[in-house]
């Protein structure tokens, strides 16, 4: 059967394609393989990893505490660069969060069944990245005790957020995105939690998993409701994939600053977000696949498909870079032209060329099948892409601000040790959450994987 399993793909047109799941799996072997990861004794490596990541996380919170105590003057921001690493990191983390919903919502609606192998931890990664992202604007306000002013709460001051400002749209966009992603992730988890509940040995595990699986029995009627709910959530979150980073980009695009004030920003940011999100999914899945021996579930085919998406979005980002230059010239606006020449050849040229190298040159390796099926190449290039995407936000934020309209206010932004520490610390938070996730929850959607096995096809085993 195995050699022909491609024939049983849903649409039936991809008979030459490699099967999505390899290793001649059965329903039982899929359940066992994925549940076993979290049911076995905690490996020593996990303890080492979480000791490392939670130390970084503690550093993150201590530094934030110091920031709140001392004020944002401990950062390198000053006139004219009032938005430094904190905003760069915010956009960076929100961007990474985009792959999760793209994979879970858009690829689901487009019936891209290969998503099932990576959607669970892509969604988890989204949530954790958005948590990291939300911290940065909150601590950047300086007086964090009035951060609730960002929300339209009735108050004795009669004071409301400025609804014409994209900063308030941001609050809504990111919090909606987080809520919907969390719901989507959790709804997807329910059948798997029930599977784990039924396998659980200890009383505590049974009770906890029993609570969170919400009484799931896997009956026909439950599946019917469940699939409808999942479809509706996919429909709800699809516009969010496009809206969140569009709104983030309007934080820049609506301000009258050369280098920010361009209409290309929303699509350019969304493409960049998907680009960086997929790069992060790839980095993490290469590690998880190796550590947990999931080669049968996350195959080279999955990586190939992801790298094609990265090639596409990477070229969209490259196109946006070049169109910015075209517009700077075509507009005939001296300030616009200066802003872009300054980007490429000014004091921040080093950052600009790192960005171009990582985001435009590196993804070109994905043109070659040999390279995009090589795990080391994919691993290195996915990391480089995220380095590049961080630098993209750095270039946008810092190079535009550092050249004010008044040359006497020009300045050069240098981060302090606290900028660096808080950024590195945010990786500690992200990794800690991710390690907790891989230890306690199924990292691959067990029930969905079963749906793409050849045995799930109604015509399985019949001759045509």
């Amino acid at each position: 059967m195995r050699s022909e399993s491609g024939t049983y793909n849903q649409i039936g047109l991809h008979s030459q394609e490699t099967p999505l799941i390899t290793g001649n799996q059965t329903f039982a072997s899929v359940t066992d393989a994925i549940s076993e990861i979290i049911e076995r004794k905690t490996p020593r490596l996990w303890y080492l990893a979480i000791a490392f990541s939670s130390s970084l996380m503690i550093m993150f919170f201590v530094l934030i505490g110091y920031l709140i105590w001392e004020g944002i003057g401990i950062w390198g921001i000053n006139v004219p660069v009032g938005w430094g690493w904190a905003i760069v990191n915010f956009v960076f983390w929100v961007g990474i969060g985009h792959a999760g919903t793209l994979i879970s919502a858009i690829l689901f609606l487009l019936r891209q069944r290969w998503r099932t192998s990576i959607n669970r931890f892509a969604e988890a990664m989204t949530l954790f990245a958005v948590i990291c992202a939300m911290i940065f604007p909150a601590i950047h306000v300086g007086r964090i005790w009035v951060a609730y002013w960002m929300f339209p709460l009735p108050n004795q001051m009669d004071m409301w957020p400025n609804f014409r400002s994209p900063l308030i749209w941001d609050v809504f966009a990111v919090s909606t995105y987080f809520t919907v992603s969390l719901l989507f992730w959790y709804v997807g988890l329910i059948p798997d939690l029930a599977t784990l509940r039924d396998r659980a040995k200890s009383r505590l595990r049974k009770i906890l998993l029993g609570i969170f699986s919400l009484g799931w029995r896997g009956g026909n009627r439950q599946w019917k409701h469940y699939e409808l709910a999942y479809l509706l959530l996919a429909g709800l979150s699809t516009p969010l994939v496009l809206s969140v980073h569009s709104v983030v980009s309007t934080d820049f695009a609506t301000s009258v600053l050369p280098g920010w004030h361009t209409t290309i920003f929303p699509p350019y940011f969304v493409a960049g977000a998907i680009f960086s999100g997929f790069a992060m999914v790839m980095t993490l899945s290469i590690i998880a696949r190796k550590v947990f021996k999931l080669e049968d579930f996350i195959t080279i085919g999955h990586f190939e498909k992801m790298s094609k998406i990265m090639l596409l979005t990477g070229m969209m980002v490259g196109y946006a870079y070049s169109i910015e230059f075209f517009m700077a010239w075509y507009s005939g606006n001296d300030y616009e032209a200066f802003a872009f020449l300054n980007r490429a050849f000014g004091p921040y040229a080093w950052a600009y060329w790192i960005m171009i190298t990582c985001n435009v040159v590196v993804p070109q390796v994905f043109w070659f099948r040999k390279l995009r099926t090589s795990i080391p190449v994919l691993f290195v290039s996915s990391i480089l892409i995220n380095v590049g995407m961080w630098f993209e936000r750095f270039v946008i934020v810092v190079s535009s601000l550092s050249r004010d309209f008044l040359p006497s206010s020009w300045g050069y932004y240098t981060p302090t040790i606290y900028d660096v520490g808080i950024f590195v610390g945010s990786f500690g938070l992200f990794l800690t959450l991710f390690l907790l996730f891989v230890r306690f929850l199924p990292i691959i959607a067990v029930s969905e994987i079963k749906g793409v096995l050849p045995q799930a096809d109604p015509h399985y085993g019949k001759e045509h």
Binding site: Q156, D158, M159, D198, G210
Partner: protein, 215 residues
Amino acid sequence: MAQIFPEWTNKIPSYALLAIILIIATMTGFFWYYGSPKYTDVGYRPIQPVPYSHKLHAGDLGIDCRYCHISVEVSPVANVPPTQICMNCHKIILPQSEKLLPVRESWATGLPMKWVRVHNLPDYVYFDHSMHLYAGVGCASCHGNVAEMEVVMQVEPLSMSWCLKCHRNPDQYLRPANQVTNMKWVPSPDQMEFANRVRAEKGINPPVDCSGCHR
């Protein structure tokens, strides 16, 4: 397979939902009422070093507010009167009173009285008494009927929304210039007409932007 949860646990989600709704409603109500300056600030009546009665001086004796608060029409600050103003009268009236001992001490030593401020706006608010009096806002509009108070107390919340209520629509609070210290003034039937006229004459256009008060 054995049941993990007994049957009564089926009701927990409904009760939990109800509890969450109740908790949110209670919290909102609590802060709405107890967190408001109408609760926290109105009614502030500190004990003063001398039991000075506004009711006696401003009410029964009919002394004009500006006899003591001399700078109110010309300065942002309506001053608390210096001891010398008290002694203008009290050198002659009740010169031996027990209650007035701290005032005479202050007069003799030159050290000011430690009156406790009742109406205290935050430092980040710029408030100008002279401007408000010029526009024709009466003392009583913000301080209440002080002439009826034995001990002065805060009667208005002095919150930002309270300020804005008048700044957005000042018409019913504007008085003729000779009525600003009148504690019992009531708008006449043609108040709107008067307000329109006086606003045009004096160019009264209260600021509602941030920098109007937070300079």
